[in-house]
Symmetry: C2
């Protein structure tokens, strides 16, 4: 039978609580759909950092390289600065494995509540496709004249043709698999006049290859406003690293699902393992109480299975989550219920 | 009596319809509160560009330099690219006159409707303070290896100490005039690791001078989510040029006031004229029909009077707008009414 090798990194805080539930559901899906999961566990985290001075060992990426996927919980803990924790674990995996697509579904699930008035599940169902390796998150920059009145900092935003074209292509290919076949580009070419006009140019160029796909584009300021006013306009939204980051938090926020949103960091060519993680963080305020919501982790597990070719199993998990929410199954406090993390995980695993 | 010299630039599209109503209300306020307005009219626009090849004459800034303020409608028209129209008129005035503060109120007005469920006027009432001259909108950048696979574009984001400190100071001073005395900083120092940590550093430094002011900071991604989920958290929000741009569209969008939002481009030292303009654009789709909403322009006029020291007159205009909306006065189509542009302008002018 088919075997998938999964590197499991619970990380920090509630990651240690959500990952076991994610695995519980993956295991149920494996039994039902007839595939095997070979798990390898890694305790890399802020604790590791405090003990060893490193978030992961020097050969960390090599240790992960043989896996088919990485299943991540959350990274970050008070006392360890973000530039240490994130840039010591999360970002090196994204970049080292050229996971150039960050894919995040924005979906109003039946039974969950959007902060928007008069919006139902049929109104909010789109994907944000985010460029995940370059753009505004660049490593070129510095500070000059420190400590003086002339002091300034500078950071380059970089768009390469390779990086831009491949993310556009991914967005259009994704749109081709969907009913509405629409791609919206996030730009700001009226204000950021070197990089963003290039983004527009490559978008227009790629669109020519997909005559069946409808396109439009908005400047990021008004696009954010449209997410709130007209979430029903969107199907696939493609953005640079920063714009994609913003839209993939705002999208789940308008869908009322920021606590349960899932995300995939994908290397579509499968030259390297891809990584799957919930959008939420390590939540120090509720960590250790086993009251956190495991759905973001479980949903990320479904995205992982889809990437591994187990589409039927992936669809089954997502439908099970939707059914459970719609039918008033156990829910954690953030969704107005009383259930614990494990209750929700077990309910989903059993239903799968 | 006091005289204020105003340069009036209706610009394009509905700017030609909203500016006369803005002036009508300013004129009423002048009569009631005993000051004089000396107006100079400029027809600079995309039409000028088509006729002369320039959005404004070469000595445009010099012509405006003697005014106390610029009262602008809207800039932009189909057929004239943004980098021509905006960078030929709007941006040169902002930068040439060192209008380094862009100030935008985000306010849920009584009688207008937020797209958010269960939110009333007491929940949404804050200011976005945007750095308006540097940051991500820089003029340093370019393209290399054009037309090849190695092609890339690059654009620097620049934060100077001068530019950063003065916008922080403005935000804290503004907070000191308000009841809640809170400043929120928009950052992204976990991802954009050269410029944004500097932004955080200067924010922390400036905060030391204002012990009475409460502060917090959020990364821009989650901050956008919070605008939707918790608009009641905010009092004064300070952001870089790009982050401020995004937040000052998203804020009015959650307040349901994007069609009527006002903005000020301010040089606080009054070394140069400041400029006041509605947030909306030239709206080619409804231009020429005299159905557009003049409230954004009128509200911008109130901000102008406040800047010119006519605080009583400014407050009177804002209160008149609020009262008119709350009491079901005439409203344009975008607010669910049937009134024309002039009806609304006249109603507000008369009430003032
Ligand atoms: C038109 C554009 C350049 C401008 C900006 O981004 O500054 C606009 O969005 C604004 O906010 O006034
Ligand atoms: C933690 C941070 C660096 C990260 C990002 O901006 O990429 C996060 O916001 C995300 O979206 O995964």
């Amino acid at each position: 039978s088919r075997t998938h090798r999964i590197a499991v990194i619970p990380g920090d805080g509630i990651g240690k609580e959500t990952v076991p539930e994610g695995l519980r559901v993956l295991d149920a899906a494996a039994r039902r759909f007839g595939f095997d999961l070979q798990l390898k566990h890694y305790d890399w985290s802020c604790e590791t950092y405090v003990q060893t001075g490193k978030m992961m060992p020097d050969d960390g990426l090599d240790q992960l390289r043989d896996s088919d996927s990485v299943f991540l919980g959350a990274v970050g803990w008070p006392g360890v600065p973000d530039h240490v924790s994130l840039w010591g674990l999360l970002i090196p995996i994204r970049r080292g494995f050229d996971q150039y697509v960050s894919l995040r579904p924005c979906k109003l699930l039946p039974g969950s509540k959007s902060p928007l008035a008069d919006r139902g599940p049929e109104d909010i169902d789109f994907y944000v496709v985010r460029e995940n390796t370059e753009g505004e998150y660049s490593s070129v920059g510095g500070r000059m004249f420190p400590g003086t009145d002339r002091e300034f900092v500078s950071q380059q935003s970089i768009l390469t043709r390779t990086g831009t074209d491949r993310i556009m292509k991914y967005a259009f290919e994704l749109a081709m698999t969907r009913k509405r076949r629409k791609v919206t580009s996030a730009t700001k070419s009226n204000g950021i006049t070197f990089t963003m006009p290039y983004w527009d140019e490559r978008f227009a160029e790629m669109a020519k290859n997909y005559p069946e796909v409808t396109t439009d584009q908005f400047h990021i300021d008004i696009l954010c406003a449209h997410f709130v006013q007209h979430p029903d306009w969107f199907d696939v939204v493609v953005g640079s690293n920063l714009f994609g980051d913003i839209l993939s938090d705002l999208g789940p926020a308008v869908a009322g699902s920021i606590g349960i949103a899932a995300s995939a960091n994908i290397n579509p060519e499968k030259a390297f393992p891809s990584m799957f993680e919930p959008v939420h963080g390590s939540a120090p305020d509720i960590a250790g109480k086993w009251i956190c919501n495991p759905i973001g982790q479980i949903w990320s597990g479904a995205m992982m299975l889809e990437h591994l070719g187990e589409k039927a199993a992936a669809d089954c998990i997502v439908q099970t989550i939707e059914k459970l929410l719609a039918e008033g199954g156990p829910r954690t406090r953030d969704m107005g219920g009383q259930a614990g993390t494990v209750d929700v995980g077990k309910a989903i695993a059993e239903a799968v």
